[in-house]
Each structure stands twice: as C-alpha cells, then as structure tokens.
C-alpha cells in the first residue's frame, strides 16, 4: 500500500510539472510572450527593457527552469498587471468563494442523488425510477450555462424568489449551486442506482434478509454502505468538472471566485494570473484524483496492484 501511494504521489508531481510547462510554453505558441505579458500600449524600448529584466531574451528552457523554481520555492507566479499584486495572492483571495460554491454544489448533488438513486434501485421500474431516469437523461444533455440563465429568468425575474447575482447571503448561493451541481447530479444518481442494484444481488444481502433483519436495516447497513463507495472516489475525480463549471457559473451569477477571475484574466490578457490559475486548478484536480485513488486503494485491494 505504501509503495502504491508513493508511486501515485510521484506520478501526480510529474503531471503537475508537465502542466506547468504546458501553461508556460502556451504563451510561446503564437507571438512574442513579452507582447502578451505587457499591456498593449507599451513602447518598443520598454519592451526591450522588460525582456531583459525578465530574462525573456534568454533560451526558453532556461526561462522555464527559472519559472518553475520561482513557483516551487517561492509560490511566485509573477505580478498581475491588472491588479499590480502577486498573482498567487490574488487567487488565494478568490479561493474561499469558489470553495463555498463547490461545497454547496456537492451538498446539493448528494442530497438529491443519494435518496433518489437508492429509491430508484429499490423500487426498480417504479414511477419514481422512471421519472428519475427521465430527468437524468435531460440533465446530461442540459448545457449548464443555459440552465443558469433559465433559472435566473424563472426564479429571479418571473417569480422573484431568489437573488440572481453577487454573494451577500446564503440565498445568493442557491441558484449558482444548483447550476453547478446539475451537471454531476445525473451521473451520481445513476452511480448510486447501479451500485445499489449490484449490491442488492449479492449473497450477503440474501443472508441478511434470511436472518430476519428488517428491510431498512438491510438497506442502510448492508447495501447502502457498499453502494456509496464508488461515490466517494468519484467525488475526488469530479473536482475538475466542478472547477470548470465554476468558471461558467461564477461568470453568469457574478460570483467573485477563482472562475470569474480566470475568465476576466483571459479577456484582458493578464497572463501571469492565467498561468497561475492553470497550475492551481491542475493542482486541485491532481490532488483530487490522488485522494480518490488512495481511498479506492484502501477500500478495494485489487486497485493497488494496478
């Protein structure tokens, strides 16, 4: 188990390094990175000075080495030239809002996915099962930015039940959390349903019933505990979906998190912030996958061997 964890950690670090390299070299794809890193109205002479100062006139690989060591040892991604503050600090200021939104979405997803998934499996083929399947199909095809706009139109404009932008109160969290969660909800619901169906066919369930245990105990103690395992690991892997969805959701609902910062920075070409965000997002995604793998490895010994 230890060797499995160590192997996975090394792999995760390698992935982070490669992603930082790609986010670094992406700027060299089209034009001179100095032009992208500086505001467009900069004079030619200033550009040359900047290049010299930043070492942009040196070989690319040496520049990358410097970038990497600055990032790793000092957490320094350079200055945002819109806010004139360190890019990393800017991201950390926005982090709590995104975390809040993501947690609210995860809670929303599981509050619905778990009970509905369990009921659909236990009462397979019932009306509830069919309705749930129908909504899962719809949900998987629903573009979340459209859902966000329609929620705003219906609950914000027509019914006037909920606020539609900003993050002043807990009510401001409801619509964005539903929007962000709607993409994952059907997936988790199906996962719970198929997990429960698998488990309910196992011998130990029959044994538990044969012992005369009440049905709710069979379901909660024996079936559900095993059916919920895949959900734990999948949630780790869904971090990438949540972060990606946050970019869109935060933009629609003017939620001041990392996603909104990402899009704003891309619009104005604040590349130090974009680079930093790519690396930070990748770090979260890799960490989520790693956690999911390790948890899965603990639960299911077969995964460790790989």
């Amino acid at each position: 188990m230890i060797s499995f964890i160590i192997r996975r950690i090394f792999q995760a670090i390698a992935i982070c390094v490669v992603i930082s390299a790609i986010s670094f070299f992406m700027l060299f794809l089209n034009t001179d990175p100095a032009l992208m890193l500086l505001p467009p109205e900069t004079e030619m002479a200033d550009i040359a000075t900047f290049k010299n100062q930043m070492g942009l006139d040196r070989p690319v690989l040496i520049q990358y080495k410097d970038f990497l060591s600055r990032v790793v040892f000092h957490g320094d991604f350079g200055q945002s030239f819109v806010y004139q503050t360190p890019a990393f600090q800017l991201i950390m200021e926005r982090f709590p809002a995104t975390l809040q939104l993501a947690l609210a979405a995860i809670i929303f997803i599981n509050l619905i996915a778990i009970p509905v998934g369990v009921i659909s499996a236990v009462k397979r083929g019932s009306l509830i099962d069919n309705i749930a399947t129908f909504f899962a199909l719809m949900g998987q095809a629903m573009p979340l930015y459209w859902l966000g706009i329609m929620l705003i139109i219906i609950f914000g404009v027509w019914l006037r039940w909920l606020p539609i932008s900003g993050n002043e109160s807990i009510f401001h969290l409801i619509l964005p959390a539903i929007t962000l969660g709607s993409w994952i909800l059907p997936i988790n619901m199906r996962l719970i349903r198929s997990g429960m169906l698998d488990v309910l066919n196992q011998d130990y369930i029959r044994t538990a019933r044969a012992k005369g245990l009440p049905e709710w105990r069979v379901l909660s103690k024996h079936a559900f505990r095993n059916a919920v395992i895949p959900l734990v690991t999948v949630t780790g892997m869904q971090i990438s979906v949540l972060l990606g969805g946050a970019v869109v959701t935060e933009t629609i609902f003017a939620w001041p998190g990392m996603g909104q910062l990402a899009l704003d920075s891309i619009y104005v070409g604040d590349y130090p912030v974009v680079q930093a965000l790519v690396v930070v997002f990748a770090f979260f995604i890799v960490a989520g996958n790693l956690a999911a793998d390790i948890v899965a490895g603990f639960i299911d010994p077969r995964i460790r061997i790989n």
Partner: protein
C-alpha cells in the same frame, strides 16, 4: 402477381409473433429512435437551411427589434420565435446555427479520432515504454483544467471557426486513447491476431486490417457522444466570447447576446439554448441506443 403477394400479406394476421417481437424491440429502442429522429431533423435542417429558413440570418431591421414569439401578444407572424436586439429573425439564426454546430462537432471529432486512436493503438500494440509515455500524456491531459486550457488556447491562437475546431480537437483526444489502448490490448490476445503474427504480417497490416475494424462499434458510440460534447463546448466557448465571433449565427453567441436581455426579453436566450439541449439530447440518446445494440454487456443498469 403483385396482387397475389398483397393478398398473401393481407391474409396473414397482423400481429403475428414475429411482429410482436419486432414491436417489442422497437419499444425497447424507443429512446434511441427518438434520438435518431432528433438528429435526422437537425441534419436535414443543416443541409437545407438556405431553402427552408424563413429569412436571412444576418438581415437587421431595427423597427422589428425584440419582437416576442408569434404566439405572444405583440408577436409577429413573420417571426415565429421572435427577433433579437438587432431585429434579426431568431428561428432563422437558430437554423443556420445548426450548420455551424455540426461543422464544428464533426470536424473536431475527426481530429480527435485521428490523434486519439493513433496514439491508443500505438500504446496498446507496442506496450512497454511507448505505452508508458502515451498513458502519462493521457493522464496529464485529463488532469488539465479543461475549460481554462481551451479558453487560453483560443485567446492565444485567436478566435475563429478554424481555431475552435483545432482547440477542441487537440484537447479532446485522451478519451479515445484510453478506450482504443484497452481494446487493442484485449484484441491482441485473440487467436486471429496471433495467427496474423505467425503469418508474418506487418504491424501496419495487422493494425489496419485486424485491430481497427474490430474497434469500429466502440469508436462509433464514443464519437457520437463526443460530437455532442464538442457542440456543447463550442457553444460554451462562443458564449464566453472566446469562440466563433459575431455576427455568425452560433448558438453560443445567440445565448450570450440573449443574456443581456434576459430580464425582459427571455426568448433571446431561451430558444438557442433549447437548440443546444435538443442536439445534445438527440446525440446522447442515439449513442446509448447504438451501444445497447452493438454491445449488450455495456447496457446501463
């Protein structure tokens, strides 16, 4: 003679056991059939748009701006789904948008297939170091914050139809690589591949004649689903302003323009989004049905 054939058919009971079986099968496939119908109608719309669209998607008419759909009060019968902020007919723009979406979806998937299947077969066929490198590349790509990567690439390369296709293509291949790698490894263990090896066929021949054809059903399912994803992703990029540029009638752009008017004129945003939804739903339903038909083991439940 024809008469006799007809009488033969008519004399048969309509609901013979064979017919009942066919009807049952059709009922099982009802969602797939619905998906196929939706997709067919989209493709037909895309092909014949210039002849069936009620008006030109670019013609502006300020006197007719922000008209509601025709069934609402103040709606005009000339504009079934109403008009946008520049007085353009929304239905026509959605119909022309079908073309953009399908062009982007299909071309991006072709690009993804080329890269993804190529790498997947290499990894699965040669194993060893090639496999490690390619698998690492797949893991890295899948750990990338996808939307950020796509948005940044488009921002760096410049937003145009061609660049959107390239960006969707070079970011979407890892799924194919994963699947084809495993399929290739599985296929490599069959006797017919072993026989091909012992006949000293070249690797190229084994891959193109024996491995790839056997993966076609899987790739077909995967590609249909990926077309839907690419359509959604294109509209997302366009919605965020880093995709296809106005005034091209892309569903994402229409949605973005509609967002500015969502407080009063909901139809600007509602209908283009519905088009994206229907396209994605149709492709998903069709993909599920193809999977059920080609590989019953993968059936959901």
């Amino acid at each position: 003679m024809i008469k006799s054939i007809f009488s033969q058919i008519l004399n048969k009971p309509v609901l013979s056991s064979v017919n009942i079986r066919i009807l049952k099968r059709l009922w099982q496939l009802r969602l797939g059939i619905l998906g196929a119908l939706l997709i067919t109608s989209l493709v037909i719309t895309a092909l014949f748009t210039p002849w069936i669209a009620p008006s030109d998607p670019y013609t502006q008419d300020i006197t007719q701006r922000l008209l509601p759909p025709s069934w609402m009060q103040n709606g005009s019968s000339d504009h079934f789904l109403g008009t946008d902020h520049l007085g353009r007919d929304i239905l026509s723009r959605i119909m022309y948008g079908t073309r953009i979406s399908l062009i982007v979806g299909l071309s991006a998937v072709v690009l993804q297939l080329t890269i993804g299947v190529g790498l997947g077969v290499l990894a699965g066929y040669y194993r060893g170091r090639v496999d490690s490198i390619i698998s690492f590349a797949v893991d890295t790509m899948l750990s990338f914050p996808y939307i950020l990567l796509a948005l940044t690439l488009v921002a760096v390369l410049g937003a145009s139809l061609q660049n959107i296709i390239i960006v969707l293509g070079i970011t979407g291949w890892p799924v194919y690589t994963r699947v084809t790698r495993i399929e290739t490894i599985k296929l490599n263990e069959y006797e017919f591949i072993f026989a091909a090896h012992s006949l000293a066929y070249s690797s190229w021949r084994i891959i193109t004649r024996h491995i790839l054809p056997n993966m076609l059903p899987t790739l077909l399912v995967l590609s249909t689903v990926e077309v839907a994803r690419c359509i959604i992703r294109e509209s997302l990029l366009s919605f965020l302003g880093l995709g296809i540029q106005p005034p091209t009638p892309s569903w994402g752009i229409m949605l973005a323009e509609g967002r500015d008017y969502m407080l009063m004129q909901w139809w600007l945003a509602a209908f283009p989004g519905m088009a994206i939804f229907i396209a994605a739903l149709g492709i998903n339903l069709l993909g599920d049905a193809i999977r059920d038909l080609t590989d019953p083991h993968l059936r959901k439940d």
